[in-house]
């Protein structure tokens, strides 16, 4: 695998050899799945833009182009170099997550302080999307130092504590959905780093216990100090309750879930066709271009479309894990793990929420949901994976 490759790399001058070198630099399944998902996302957003005034097809295209450029740039840089800038990554992460909370540039919308807008410029950006990538790089960088085996409990606790920093910062916004992604992604990276199984189990038990305490005490805090002081806001609590019983409040959170399920189910085998989705087009399905984009997709393209979507994600994620597999670098492998877990979790969360098997949280479906920040971050993630592939040896 090695000798011939380096030869061709250094002396590649004729066409055949150049194309061979491109094959070796670009991972085709990764590129194909990404482009195909962008096409699906583009078509979905085009149809959404026909009926939903908030969804601008042009803006989405802009996000795609920007993301593709970013991905191409990143691919040509060896991201593995980032592993030596652990402290810088942590600082960038903190800055990104605090920025929406700052006055002047921070923007409050849809219940969270999640956006940044430079005064005078119309562009709005959600730093948490980038922070996900930075957190992945940060955690991969930290964990890879232990080279696949974490033997000291102190080190393990240190890792968990550092993961806690972005998690707590994002809860201040409070963006519970992105917080969950960070937690899951970071936790998987730590677990993949080889801590003792006992510690992991104890940690999970502690987290479950903590969540239980939060859920139990939330009504008490609400009653005594008011909803604004409690960790879980009322709408978040409602979403959880409705997840357990969707008939609880059909016109509130339960209504959204019910309409989303109707959209998915009524899509049938072949879907209703582009622009023919009555649930999304008639306004019955809320947030059809963002949080509930999968319901819109499933309504328009049906089961056949969903099979294609799932197959593409499967190819994308498995390829990413494969690239981690062949990367010969602990940092590269862990970064791929982080990105693969991020995509898997977002896919599970977004699709699962639309079908009522996951609670409702505003997590976008990568490459499909409306939003330039998300699009940029997801394509940058592809760029990172591509870079790891390109610089695998």
């Amino acid at each position: 695998m090695s000798a011939k490759k380096f030869e061709s790399h250094s002396t590649g001058s004729n066409f055949l050899e150049t194309s061979q070198s491109i094959f070796k630099q670009i991972n085709f399944p990764l590129a194909f799945a990404t482009v195909a998902l962008l096409v699906l996302g583009g078509v979905t957003m085009y149809s959404a833009s026909l009926t939903i005034s908030d969804a601008s097809f042009i803006k989405q295209l802009f996000g795609m182009v920007l993301g593709l450029i970013a991905a191409a740039l990143i691919m040509n840089v060896d991201v593995k170099k980032a592993s030596s800038f652990t402290h810088a990554l942590l600082i960038i992460d903190i800055i990104l997550l605090i920025s929406p909370l700052l006055p002047v540039i921070g923007v409050y919308s849809k219940g969270i302080n999640g956006w940044v807008q430079i005064p005078g410029i119309g562009l709005r950006f959600q730093p948490a999307e980038l922070a996900k990538l930075v957190t992945i790089l940060l955690m991969a960088s930290l964990v890879s130092q232990y080279n696949g085996k974490i033997t000291s409990l102190k080190d393990y606790i240190k890792l968990c504590a550092i993961l806690g920093v972005p998690f707590i910062l994002i809860l201040l916004q409070p963006d519970l959905g992105t917080g969950l992604i960070l937690l899951v992604v970071g936790a998987v990276i730590i677990i993949m780093g080889g801590p003792k199984r006992k510690w992991v189990l104890i940690t999970i038990a502690l987290v479950v216990g903590l969540v239980a305490i939060v859920l139990i005490t939330d009504p008490i805090i609400d009653a005594t100090l008011g909803d604004s002081k409690s960790l879980l806001k009322e709408y978040q609590m409602n979403r959880l309750l409705v997840f357990v019983d969707p008939t609880l409040d059909p016109s509130g959170s339960g209504y959204n879930l019910q309409q989303s399920k109707i959209a998915v189910g009524s899509g049938g085998l072949f879907g209703k066709g582009i622009g023919q989705a009555s649930q999304a087009g008639g306004g019955f399905l809320p947030e059809a271009h963002t949080d509930f984009v999968f319901a819109l997709f499933a309504e328009e393209f049906g089961f056949v479309g969903v099979i294609v979507l799932l197959a593409l994600f499967f190819v994308l994620i498995i390829t990413t894990l494969y690239i981690g597999f062949v990367s010969r670098s602990m940092f590269g492998a862990l970064t791929c793990v982080g990105i693969a877990v991020m995509w898997t979790f977002q896919l599970l969360q977004n699709m699962g929420m639309c079908m009522g098997i996951m609670p409702i949280t505003g997590i976008p479906l990568p490459f499909i949901s409306y939003g330039s920040s998300s699009m940029l971050a997801q394509l940058m993630a592809v760029g990172i994976v591509g870079s790891i592939y390109k610089h695998r040896s």
């Binding site: 696949g148 085998l269 009555s278 499933a298 494969y322 597999f325 492998a333 793990v337 079908m355």
Partner: protein, 688 residues
């Protein structure tokens, strides 16, 4: 979606997933082998180093094994990812293929709104095709109950509608159409008001205007009783309709249905099939598209045997008879008159007084009007006295008593009787008066009918009482349809009563035995149509028709045709239905008919009737009703030789039959044959 296709798809999906997994495992296996074959493979190990480190230090055995361990974890993670994607795959499969139809219908419910369009009711026509009941459009102002919360809107409404504030408020509070249903504030609102309200929607929130098809009565309250009225369906009707599996129409709240009379009788024919407009709406209920329209199918028209012209005359002269009775000091409260065609049983006219205005019921009747119509002082204007008014038959029954006596051999045409005014057939202590206290002298059955001589019939009753057939009279009465429903196509017909011993024992079962026993006096009562005999005017006319049909009882009917929509081709055409054949010898029938001709020609009635070309026969009656004035009866038919018309009239508390009823019937015949009665002063006539 066929289940075969579903299965194929699932299998294909699984195969694809397995192939991808297998391919991944094969690649992994090859890589592992490659590593084993080349233990000198280099790994990047220094996390802090910068740039590619292709020729960095050799990896130790332990570090190499760590990377292998990492790769094992990666494969495990790949398996977890595959598992998650499989879960999503199967969840989507179950929602989009297995439960899809359920969600499709829910999505349709969301997307579409179906607005029912009401079908116009069928018209009611007379025998000549003239419209008796039609339809007209009426603009109706409707209000949601939320309006009650805003006094200002009610005030504005009252203002533009020109109604009192309290009335508007009362109408909006009316929950008779369901608590959540819109309430009708006013109907027949002028176009000017309609456009004002329509142009100022912000001033009139929750107020809507509908155009409704409502019943139109070109002849006002004419024939109100037989036509009946329509009204919004009641909660009970709705329940009944739901529970009736045979119901051809499924009603909705707010539907207008026939409540009484022919409107109720032929509801299933008159009520059309509502159409619908299907609209596409968005989540805010805004209409985004017109999807389809199903046109309503109007109800079928029905043609009656009623003749508007004769109906009007009948009503006019009935009312006149009541007036005349009042003029001579009688406390006449009401009356009824029916005109039948003896040849086929069709009803040509039917009048009942007091009457009502069916327009009062359109859109639901107000409480005040309803009270007016049901109070004691109003004398039951809603009751159709022709079919539901129960009266003693009085002397009109004598023809049947005579037939009974002749048929049972109680008397022969030659049997002689003597009337001394006071009849003492059951002994001095039990004497009874003939209506003519001075007595009729020598009589037979024929003259007994002509003179309506009570003594003749008392003697017949006595002979029945003493015979083997003490209830022969009752058998004959019933044989001619008295005391039972005629079966006319109208709801609410009453049977009346022909009393007998069994009835009396049952009816007075809480009384001492001596009061429950059938007595000779009971028989002498029923022989002259008194006592507990109760008949309807329709029954009397029905029986008199049978006299002219050799004893054939033909069911009276109002409906002659149901007309198909668009053309006048009848869907249904009714035909005469003989329900019963009364037992009678032709010569007895002839005797009775001839005697009833004599009633007209040989008595004081001749002064009204004998100026007519068309010869009339008939019988008067004067019913004695406890604590009330005498009820005047007359049943007549013409032309005598082969009657085309049989008319029965009763005037409640109208005095003797010859005084009010007989001259009024003469005027109806006069109208029919265009032989008006000359100006003859009505004399008080005590003939029974």
């Amino acid at each position: 979606m066929s289940s075969l296709l579903q299965t194929v798809l699932v299998i294909v999906g699984l195969v694809v997933a397995l192939v991808i997994l297998a391919a991944g495992l094969i690649v992994y296996a090859k890589k592992s082998q490659a590593h084993k074959k080349a233990p000198g493979t280099k790994y990047k190990t220094d996390p802090n180093s910068t740039g590619p480190q292709i020729n960095a230090q050799k990896i130790t055995e332990e570090e190499g094994s760590r990377m292998v361990a990492m790769r094992t974890r990666l494969v495990a993670l790949g398996a977890v990812v595959s598992g998650i994607i499989s879960v999503l795959f199967f969840k989507t499969w179950s929602m989009q293929l297995v439960q899809s139809s359920e969600y499709v219908s829910l999505a349709e419910d969301n997307r579409t709104r179906v607005i029912p369009t009401k079908a116009p009711r069928g018209h009611i026509l007379d025998r000549n095709g003239q419209v008796i009941v039609g339809n007209r459009a009426s603009m109706v102002v409707m209000a949601q109950k939320d309006v009650l919360k805003d006094e200002l809107i009610i005030k504005r409404l009252a203002n533009v509608l020109g109604m009192p504030y309290a009335a508007v408020r009362r109408n909006i509070r009316d929950e008779s159409q369901g608590a959540a249903a819109p309430r009708m504030v006013a109907m027949d609102v002028p176009m000017q008001t309609v456009s004002y309200i329509a142009e100022h929607p912000s001033q009139f929130p929750h107020i809507t205007i509908e155009s409704r098809s409502v019943r139109a009565y070109p002849h006002a309250s004419m024939a109100a009783h037989l036509l009946g009225y329509t009204g919004p369906i009641s909660q009970e009707d709705l329940e009944r309709n739901k529970q009736n599996p045979d119901a051809s129409i499924t009603y909705q709240m707010g539907d207008v249905i026939g409540k009484t009379g022919l409107e109720a009788q032929y509801e299933s024919v008159l009520q059309g099939i509502p159409g619908s407009q299907t609209l596409q709406v968005d989540a805010h209920g805004r209409v985004t598209k017109f999807l389809e329209e199903v046109a309503p199918i109007p109800g079928s028209d029905i043609q009656l045997s009623i003749d508007i012209d004769i109906q009007k005359a009948t009503e006019k002269y009935l009312l006149e008879a009541i007036k005349i009775a009042k003029d001579i000091g009688r406390n006449a409260t009401g009356g009824a008159c029916v005109v039948l065609d003896p040849k086929d049983g069709s009803v040509i006219a039917m009048a009942s007084y007091p009457t009502f205005d069916p327009t009062a019921f359109i859109g639901g009747i107000g409480a005040e009007t309803w009270e007016d119509l049901t109070s004691d002082e109003s004398h039951n204007p809603l009751t159709n006295r022709v079919i539901a008014g129960l009266y003693p038959a009085a002397s009109t029954i004598k023809a049947f008593s005579a037939i009974s006596a002749l048929e049972y051999g109680i008397a022969t045409p030659e049997t002689g009787y003597n009337c001394a005014g006071k009849w003492k057939g059951f002994g001095e202590a039990w004497f009874k008066w003939c209506w003519l206290h001075s007595g009729h002298g020598g009589q037979n059955i024929r003259t007994g009918i002509i003179n309506s001589c009570d003594s003749v019939f008392y003697s017949i009753a006595k002979d029945f009482w003493n015979s083997n057939e003490p209830e022969g009279l009752q058998h004959t009465f019933r044989d001619w349809g008295l005391g039972s429903k005629t079966g006319i196509d109208l709801p609410g017909e009453q049977a009346g009563r022909i009393p007998d011993a069994e009835w009396k024992a049952e009816y007075f079962k809480n009384y001492p035995p001596e009061d429950r026993q059938w007595r000779a006096g009971d028989t002498t009562n029923i022989v002259i149509g008194q006592g507990d005999v109760l008949v309807t005017p329709l029954q009397m006319a029905h029986a008199f028709c049978a006299l002219n049909n050799n004893g054939k009882l033909i069911k009276p009917r109002l409906l002659s045709k149901v007309l198909a929509q668009g053309d006048n081709k009848p869907l249904i055409e009714t035909s005469p239905e003989v329900t019963h054949q009364a037992t009678v010898e032709p010569q007895f029938l002839e005797l009775v008919l001839e005697a009833q001709r004599g009633v007209i020609s040989n008595t004081t009635l001749s002064r009204y009737y004998e100026n007519m070309e068309h010869k009339v026969a008939g019988k008067t009656g004067t019913a004695e009703v406890a604590s009330k004035g005498d009820y005047a009866w007359f049943v007549g038919y013409a032309p005598y030789e082969s009657p085309d018309y049989c008319i029965a009239m009763i005037v409640e508390q109208g005095g003797g039959g010859g005084t009010s009823a007989a001259p009024a019937v003469r005027k109806i015949f006069g109208h029919i044959y265009d032989e008006p009665m000359p100006e003859i002063s009505i004399k008080v006539d005590n003939t029974r």
